[in-house]
């Protein structure tokens, strides 16, 4: 189940980064950057 959920995190990360690249509003881009950090830390099994 752990790896399945890491897969879900990866899927969401791809979607968030994809959105970030095309989002024109800087504020929403910053929101995305805030979300990315904990998701990556969990994906890499650091925290």
């Amino acid at each position: 189940m752990l790896y399945l959920y890491l897969g879900i995190i990866l899927f969401l990360l791809v979607l968030i980064v994809w959105n970030m690249m095309t989002e024109k509003n800087l504020m929403v881009q910053i929101d995305a950057a805030l979300v990315i950090v904990p998701l990556v830390l969990r994906l890499l099994l650091i925290k």
Binding site: M1, L4, Y5, L15, N19, M27, V28, I30, P38, K47
Partner: protein, 424 residues
């Protein structure tokens, strides 16, 4: 003045300044408040603490993101349109019964998962178009969904704030069905009728019928409902047979059901729709990150202790007032946080005043109202989003039902001794 009090005002001041004066988003205002608080307390910019605080919401982030994907899929595939048509054509003659039924539908996912977000984003999406068709103005419909979602979160069998409170005082989560059921169903019926009945006393099906989509349901038949049926079955199976069915968790259940929904109804551009779902979700997720940072800094600097301590130092009458005001207000940062940080000390303070199960249930019920408090207001924000309205318009509509709920909770707290019969 104590340093913790100063830090608290700095955090609050910077947040308000950012949010209202500079018009920054809530997320960034929260981050700014957290950083300012840490600086004021002499902790510099504690990167580790800032991001560690966000991890409390990691699972919530997954639930929200996947629930949004699910909701988009069932909307695009036509499932919601078809379901609205079925419900309205069956029940339009008895609007009061229909309103209560719709309230229970909104509550259902929350009852099973303990999450108001899950409620509003799954059942809320089904019910919203029906409420609008019945003539409820968008803000009132939003309030209906938001109240239903928090009542679902509070309703048995799964009430996570109650579990957090009982866990904090080493009390088993047993016997909560009676008091929680009475509180939630009672206030659910009152809220449904109060919000809805005056707008839909005389429903004219000829008018509503024109708005309904009669085609999609006929074209795709029962398979259109497969994603919804699957969602409910998986939720129930995981809950009812935990030793047989592996615990899939809400995010996976939402994704599986969404995946099925892509092939059971109208065709739609899957990738673009999912991306759009995520686009609308990111600001809410960002808000959660900001809140996580804010609470961690509150704990680090002692502001959290200052608030809890100030509440517990109050005399008995004011203690009840604090329970009814501070506890839901703390939900503005997090209702789970409120249950754990304030609910447990309040529970300990009231342990000897009556039936402990009724007390814990009442506290948990009041805590749940916190999910409607801005700026986080997960249930409220999504309810507003579903009815395409601003949350600031939806919130005032929630005021009376929330007040009724809090008063019911208070009445249960004050009379917990004589309500012991509700606990088997």
């Amino acid at each position: 003045m104590q340093i913790e009090c100063i830090v608290f005002f700095v955090m609050l001041g910077v947040f308000l300044l950012g949010n209202f004066l500079l018009k920054l988003p809530v997320s960034l205002s929260m981050v700014a408040g957290a950083v300012a608080g840490a600086l004021a307390a002499g902790d510099g910019i504690p990167l580790r603490h800032l991001f560690e605080g966000t991890f409390v919401y990691l699972d919530t982030v997954l639930i929200i993101a996947t629930a949004m994907i699910f909701m988009t899929v069932v909307q695009e595939a036509g499932t919601l349109d078809a379901l609205a048509e079925v419900i309205v054509s069956r029940f339009y003659k008895v609007p009061a019964v229909m309103l209560v039924l719709l309230m229970i539908i909104v509550m259902f996912p929350g009852m099973v998962t303990g999450s108001s977000t899950a409620s509003v984003l799954s059942a809320g999406a089904i019910v919203a178009p029906i409420l609008l068709l019945m003539g409820l103005p968008a803000p009132t419909a939003g309030a209906f969904l938001a109240i239903g979602a928090v009542l679902g979160m509070a309703a048995p069998p799964v009430n996570i704030p109650a579990m957090l409170i009982t866990g904090g005082v080493d009390m088993p989560y047993i016997g909560f069905e009676g008091p929680l059921f009475t509180l939630t169903i009672g206030s659910g019926v009152i809220a449904a009728l109060f919000l809805g009945l005056r707008h839909c006393r005389n429903l004219d099906y000829r008018v509503i019928g024109r708005e309904l989509d009669h085609e999609t349901g006929k074209k795709y038949g029962l398979k259109l409902y497969l994603p919804l049926v699957l969602l409910i079955c998986l939720m129930l199976a995981c809950r009812l047979f935990p030793n047989v069915v592996p615990t899939l968790g809400m995010p996976l259940i939402f994704l599986i059901s969404a995946a099925v929904g892509c092939f059971t109804g109208r065709r739609f551009p899957i990738a673009a729709s999912i991306r759009e779902a995520m686009r609308t979700t990111v600001p809410v997720l960002g808000k959660l990150m900001g809140v996580g940072m804010f609470i961690q800094v509150m704990t680090l600097t002692g502001v959290r202790g200052f608030i809890v301590d100030s509440c517990l130092g109050l005399p008995a009458a004011l203690l009840y007032l604090a329970i009814c005001t501070v506890m839901p207000a703390f939900g503005a940062v997090s209702s789970y946080g409120s249950a754990s940080v304030l609910g447990v000390p309040f529970m300990l303070a009231l342990l000897s005043t009556g039936n402990q199960t009724v007390i814990a249930a009442s506290l948990a019920f009041i805590v749940c109202m916190g999910d409607l408090m801005p700026p986080t207001a997960l249930a409220g924000n999504y309810a507003a989003q579903i009815v395409k309205e601003r949350y600031s318009k939806v919130l005032p509509q929630c005021a009376v039902p929330v007040l009724v709920c809090i008063l019911m909770g208070l009445a249960f707290l004050l009379n917990s001794g004589s309500l012991g019969f509700l606990v088997p």
